[in-house]
């Protein structure tokens, strides 16, 4: 069976690269640099824009330093690599020469969280939200399906700035139905308005959270759903209002709880002096190397659909 049959959702990376290609045709200052990560769309890009593509080698540190010199010379640079290697591997470079000068460089990260499931720990990024959102002046964007990816990259191209774009390795089932765009300005999507309790998640877990909601409906629980696709800067004013309309909050992420998306939300609530029952689901210290696919890893690490349902029940019973 073909993995990429017609009905498979489009890969986020192809959407992103195709959009950049369109822009690159009009703007010769757009440069795309890969640290040896490919994509079907990248083959086209390299063929069509040989002067706007650079292979950095498997040298992420140099790739980021290079980007700084290019950006200081007026180039609009998009860096592209597997998630672990474009974040922690070259974090010092990102901090020193991109963040410190606020250069308009977009870091495109593929396979965030547990996306490279069988590759295990070296390829996991359970900390990428925590480490990237700690950078000065960065915008952290994490689309959840093809439509949100398309609108987000469109905006990233139109308004150059220092950005971290988290892409899932696998194509995600559609979440939006032509209605994502208005949320772009807000920074999150209040996808479903529910009663009493709201679940906030992002990225590849959005589909799981929606699946959990379906099951909860059968149990008579009508929970709200928020897709926090912009983790930084978090829109505290609007998000606090949205969360305040519920009695309890559940955050669900494919990250270590230390410093992740749930942390960002609890920090924001503290800043707005909102005290509310909140439970965070995510990975915890002590996870280790296990063979298994992503669903099995979610079961193991406590972020499966069943864990979401259990957590919602606990919050309801409070």
């Amino acid at each position: 069976m073909s993995v990429t049959n017609e009905s498979s959702p489009q890969l986020m990376r192809d959407i992103v690269i195709n959009s950049i290609a369109k822009a690159a045709k009009k703007d010769k200052n757009i440069l795309f640099i890969s640290a040896d990560l490919g994509a079907k769309s990248l083959d086209d890009f390299r063929r069509d824009f040989p002067n706007q593509f650079i292979h950095a080698g498997i040298s992420e540190q140099n790739m980021v330093d290079l980007a700084s010199g290019l950006a200081l010379s007026g180039k609009r640079v998009f860096l592209y690599a597997m998630a672990p290697f474009i974040t922690a591997r070259c974090y010092e470079q990102i901090k020193c020469v991109i963040a410190s000068m606020g250069l308009p460089v977009t870091l495109i990260s593929v396979g965030v969280g547990l996306g490279y499931d069988h590759a295990t720990l070296t390829h996991f990024t359970p900390e990428d939200i925590a480490c990237m959102r700690a950078l000065n002046g960065i915008e952290v964007l994490t689309p959840s399906d093809a439509e949100s990816t398309e609108v987000i990259i469109e905006k990233a191209i139109a308004e150059p700035k220092f950005r971290y774009l988290r892409l899932d390795r696998q194509g995600q089932l559609p979440i939006y139905n032509g209605n994502f765009r208005p949320n772009m300005k807000v920074g999150f999507s209040h996808i479903i308005k529910g009663k009493q309790l709201v679940i906030v998640s992002c990225g590849a877990l959005m589909n799981k959270v929606l699946a959990a909601r379906e099951k909860l409906m059968f149990e008579g629980m009508d929970v709200g759903i928020i897709d926090l696709f912009r983790v930084k800067p978090i829109n505290g004013r609007e998000l606090s209002k949205a969360l305040n309309s519920y009695n309890a909050i559940l955050t669900v992420e494919e990250q270590l709880l230390d410093g992740g998306m749930g942390s960002a939300i609890t920090e924001m609530l503290a800043d707005y002096m909102i005290l509310k029952p909140i439970k965070r689901l995510g990975m915890r210290d002590g996870f280790s190397v296990v063979n298994g696919d992503r669903d099995q890893l979610h079961d193991l690490y406590g972020i499966a659909v069943s864990d979401v349902i259990k957590a919602v029940n606990e919050l309801y019973q409070r």
Binding site: S59, Q61, N62, D65, G69, L72, K75, M101
Partner: protein, 270 residues
Amino acid sequence: MNINDLENKALWLRQELFEMVIKQKKGHIPSCYSCVEVMVALYYGGIVNIKHGYPQDPDRDRVIVSKGHAAMVQYPILADFNFFPKSELLKFTQSGGLLGMYADYRIPGIEGISGSLGHGIGMGAGFAIAARHDGKKYQSYIILGDGECYEGSIWEGAMFAAHHKLDNLVAIVDRNALCILGETEELLSLGDLENKWRSFGWETFTVDGHSFNELLPAFEKIKQVVGKPSVIIANTIKGKGISFMEGKSEWHNRMPNLEQMAQARSELGL
């Protein structure tokens, strides 16, 4: 400028740097002094194309002191080129002043931030690729510390620059053979640096880094090199110009006492 003028300029630069450091008790004299002649050769020896009072000239050559703890070596020169008022030199590291202990990209004439080692070659390669992309003729000159060559990113950048045949990129390794804890060859041998760079595909030159008679011809020859980046291994003496600091790693960021200060002043002709 003739050699005599350049030597006077080098003395002037050492004097200016000494006053800046002593006034604020901040900065790294020995690291700056080892690359004084390199900097003077570049800016005053007819090597770099930099126009007085025009730091934003799109065609200017780029000079990056990647060994950021010595970035202040550029400050008196940049003031001399009317990039900012000379009065800023006296406000070095002071609140409200323009000039920091490490180079800040907002300072006119400073091309990028520095302080953390190992970024200069990659950043310089970025400038060099951009120049080629834009059809510009400017060169990028990167001053590296020899201790900085311990950083792996230097060699990532070296490989990249050679592959792309960046003949508009020049590195100068300030080979003073010292880092904070002692001599590089005793602590962790850097070995034959010239051979290392050559094996990465660079055109290499080794000179006495305090001799204008050796520096200037090397820079001139580099202008004729086609199809590859060039590096000058400049053999230098850390602290050159103040006898008791010369070749002594313990002076990396130490301040002289009153007696030593008097001796230094006398040796610098202050």
